[in-house]
Symmetry: D2
Subunit: 362 residues, 4 copies
């Protein structure tokens, strides 16, 4: 007897379109009580005033309320990432865990944890780093993943500061920033450092408030953090490989060294799905259940020595530029457009690069 992770990737016609999930439940292909997390790639701007995330979350909670007890909804990680730039296709990724009669053979292992709500003052500080680190440890234990190397992706949804929240907190002096957009970066950065600390990628004692979102040389190779207006806690979803689990699914990851590092992505795909001629064949891409990646504009202002304009564009946030661009690369490689590419990669991979994970059928 062993646990098995199941993954469904489902199209979304709008942020409130949960019909695809409902159809699976109604058909008996998905048991609502087995859902541990739902990731949503929604079509907002992915920045401060992106209400598609809250709208999607509210819609999911209404739908889940018809299938599971109210208390159980709160333990499901609902992680919305806004921004479907370029041809990215809005979609849900539903992750469920079932007990099977199969013997444990080693397979994709997943578990979630949620921190307590943060105060506005804690957002983007070491307090957040430590809360996240605890949550990651707790989720690893629950997923029976003992070695840090077996963790391949940690997805976190974390809060941000708004003008309202800063005022409620008591004003500019006691929050990490007064810029709402900047607070999104600090929050993502603090979450990523919490992951890095737990996975042994950095020494927790070497971290400080001052380096959060500043020292780009420190990062986790497996962190993916999104910030959103609709929550005050940090929701943590750990994904890795564990001998205690069973089933056909596996996960692997690579770090893109920069935003045009197709070579690394190509190697990740080839190692796990077989030789590739330019792009995955339809048969290969059907074995891909999820592509999870981070994208960001390099702070240096350059990619391989050539200037980019993402940081100087006052009409479009650099996070939007980076998501669409990296998604183009990944869509070329995989032949898919329902890619979970999220922006803002502070401490999530090297400057201008980022982690890329795939969940696939072996």
């Amino acid at each position: 007897m062993a646990r098995e992770t199941r993954v469904h990737r489902i199209a979304m016609a709008s942020p409130d379109d949960v019909s695809g999930i409902t159809a699976l439940i109604d058909a008996g292909d998905l048991k609502a009580s087995s859902i541990i997390a739902i990731l949503g790639k929604t079509e907002g701007n992915g920045c401060v005033n992106d209400f598609t995330r809250g709208y999607a979350t509210q819609s999911l909670r209404m739908m889940l309320g018809r299938h599971v007890p109210a208390d159980d909804i709160d333990r499901i990680c609902l992680i919305m990432s806004g921004g479907t730039e370029g041809a990215i296709s809005p979609h849900w990724i539903v992750i469920s865990v079932v007990e099977t009669d199969a013997a444990p053979t080693g397979a994709l292992a997943t578990a979630q944890a949620i921190t307590r709500p943060l105060t506005p003052t804690e957002i983007g500080t070491m307090a957040q780093v430590d809360l996240v680190a605890d949550a990651v440890r707790s989720a690893m234990a629950q997923a029976s993943i003992s070695a840090a190397d077996d963790v391949h992706f940690v997805q976190i949804k974390c809060p941000l500061l708004t003008a309202e929240r800063i005022e409620e907190a008591g004003g500019a002096d006691i929050v990490s920033t007064t810029s709402t957009l900047k607070s999104m970066g600090l929050s993502r950065g603090a979450s990523a450092l919490g992951i890095a600390a737990t996975l042994g990628e950095v020494d927790r004692d070497a971290l400080s408030d001052a380096m959060i979102s500043t020292d780009v040389s420190v990062y986790s190779s497996r962190a993916s953090c999104s910030s959103g207006i609709e929550l005050m806690a940090c929701e943590v979803l750990v994904m890795g490989m564990s001998d205690a689990w069973s089933g056909p699914l596996a996960i692997d990851h690579v770090v893109m060294a920069d935003g045009i590092d197709l070579k690394s992505v190509h190697e990740l795909l080839a190692q796990n799905l077989g030789p590739i001629e330019g792009q995955l064949t339809p048969v290969q891409s059907q074995r891909l259940l999820a592509v999870l990646a981070k994208a960001e504009a390099s702070q240096s202002g350059h990619v391989r020595g050539r200037r980019h304009t993402m940081l100087d564009d006052s009409d479009i946030s650099s996070t939007r530029h980076a998501r669409g661009f990296v998604a183009g690369l990944l869509a070329g490689a995989t032949g898919l457009t329902d890619l979970f590419v999220s922006g803002g990669a502070e401490h999530q991979g090297p400057d201008g690069g980022g982690p890329c994970a795939i969940i696939f059928e072996r």
Copy 2:
């Protein structure tokens, strides 16, 4: 004795930064009088109110005025395409033609032509189609390209309608559209159909005002058209292969069937630059002198059956989305970010796809 085309790709720090071109001239590596065209990928929004194109053009003309007689400036095609979404790097592509002592061996052949200024009423109509068709024919003759199949890319810069111009023309009733943004598409579409007619891809008599930018099934596989506020004529640059020319450079092209068609791009690169492991090696990419491609959002609202949101986004023009996304794919394949990707591909390749040409050293 034969003509030879030379191509320089040069970084641009801002739309008025012509220092890289000046440096080549001063060093004797580029003879100003041999320049026949300068393409510029500038960092504006690529839409109606993109003044980076006019700014770049004015800066080029000031610079050229210091090196060539005033009359000669007007015969140089200055084709600016706005929009450096994602990591696209602003750059100039300077095309010059020199007479050499070498025997004609067959090589990249280039020539330009400029139509008379259009009236606002003609923009986006069959009148523009015919003017462009004549100009393409004229440029082919000048380049000694006799077979239409030997033309691999035709780059056109064409005018658009503004509220001002519509009013000057006499109002809404006698122009093809009152929407400035839509006029850009009609003008690009009419230019592309002019190319298609000359290259034998469509029958000119089967064309009509009504189908311009409407009937997406009719297209040229080698057209690239940008519209800009800074001119009223159409500037045409024909690029192909001709036995009458000499030198190390060649050009080839492919049609991307959709916005994620890496397979076709991969084949184009592999055929001309040798086997590829995921991405061109630095040695291979150094042989690439220019990458010229069109990008657009499919009118169907889908890519390979999956919804995209580009046409429903009222914050960012679909042309900007498409450029950044396709550039990500091309940057992954080539390892370069100074890519001349331009948006708005009406009748330039199939719906959602577009031509992609490379100029390379053999």
Copy 3:
């Protein structure tokens, strides 16, 4: 015994913040079953992909579901208008009708009606004009408003076309436009002409599909129409004066001749609230329960002979420009920022101008 209209203007911290309405209900100041309409000014872009309207609507329906029978929710007009440019403050306007013991003295009279759902093919056509005309007539009868002159404002929420809906309808050939943004204008225009026909401002038989959103000389002086992605029917709210009603509230309106017509607004305010020194005093502005206005960029490209750039801006929709600008004028006049200014004023007042109504205590 007579009916009385009550109006509450309530702050909104986010599109899902219905706490202000709930507080009034809980305090007994507002009876949920008496609500006939809720207008919401939400903080989205007010264009195609503005999901703040759907999010607000979903949040209202969840809240109302806790207070009134499910069937009754559907008869409440929920009219969301996106776009809080400049200092516009997001807010709800809750309109309720109660039976009182007072004798009818003449007062603000309100009633609502909802058309059947439109097909995508009907949006922006004469079919929509006629459906809306019927609904306006029906609402006038219900409000006991017999003379068209006693109608001072008709607020309509109507549907738009998306790429999805066009495809479902059977494609480009049978819808009024393939541009989602343009469909918003056609839908607003058709709704406004339906109002104009019923109020005797135009002859219904003189109208045609071709003139919708095209012939700017034809308009209603009391129409305010918003289009949104969240509905397929047209929701109509008629507001006027009727002898059959009672209570302290009244409504009046004026037509702004252009976007800077403070003179007309000033006269409207002075006639109903007394002499003004530059701006309403706090005492005067407290008597203002709602300011309802339309704003749009003039198609001529000019305001009083001077060029504006709203129609040539490809980064910001002209509707957003116009809302923020006209709101600045109205905020200056009234001292308020929670103004219900909505954009896109096709056939709603003259080109570049629009109706402005106030609900006030006498």
Copy 4:
């Protein structure tokens, strides 16, 4: 014999349209050698990547080069402010000074000064404050304005940081910020404090790097500062009243307490142009030669207790929101749309408010 300031406000069809200025020169109505400053309200985004300012500047310099010696061009203040949100009409304000035979009667007095180029490290610091303070003093002396109270407006154009400049300077550690958008605010703030110090509004010794753009309680009531990518020096234009000057023109100013303070503007207009019924009459508005104002979103997130959304909007910069909104108010009051409203009012008036000056015929 006395000096006289002349002011011409001229429409601009695009950033390179200097034809209106040329026409005045050609007609003999404006002597090129008498020009001391040209202000331009150009139609870019007014933020980091607004190249309409540089384009306008380049176009002015080309035009001026045909009329005055090259050395003289550099001493003319060319102050471009991007952003024509709402119905703001792009325009030039040409300020010239002539010697007349008239006796000095007291009139508008103007003079300019330019600091040395700043290093990237100095931008947004006390070094900039002191350089600007010196330049203001120097311009006052040249304009024969002895009392600080007689200065009514100081317009400054100052530099900003780009990713390029930060890298050239040696990286993030030695500049005031790594955010290009934030650098615009710091530069404007430092310039404004330089003005405030010279005018005696603040004690220079009480200022520090840390308070620049942070302590909103400290401000000048007569500062207007724009930052632009096209220069590295600070260009200072002082405008006030002086007994040593002659002519019909005068200047006055008021401080708007917040973004909806029509009352103060109304008083300023009434005091100088006579009683007003809602809006200036055409006769009154013709006497207005220039309206110069600052606009910004209040850091508190509120206007008179009601929330605004400008600081939480990731699609449109708050500076763009504020300009369009305040311009609507000013256009309503004056009947004009060619208003020089510039955004980003750090230390330029109170939080959310700003100075407003008018130049008028007595």
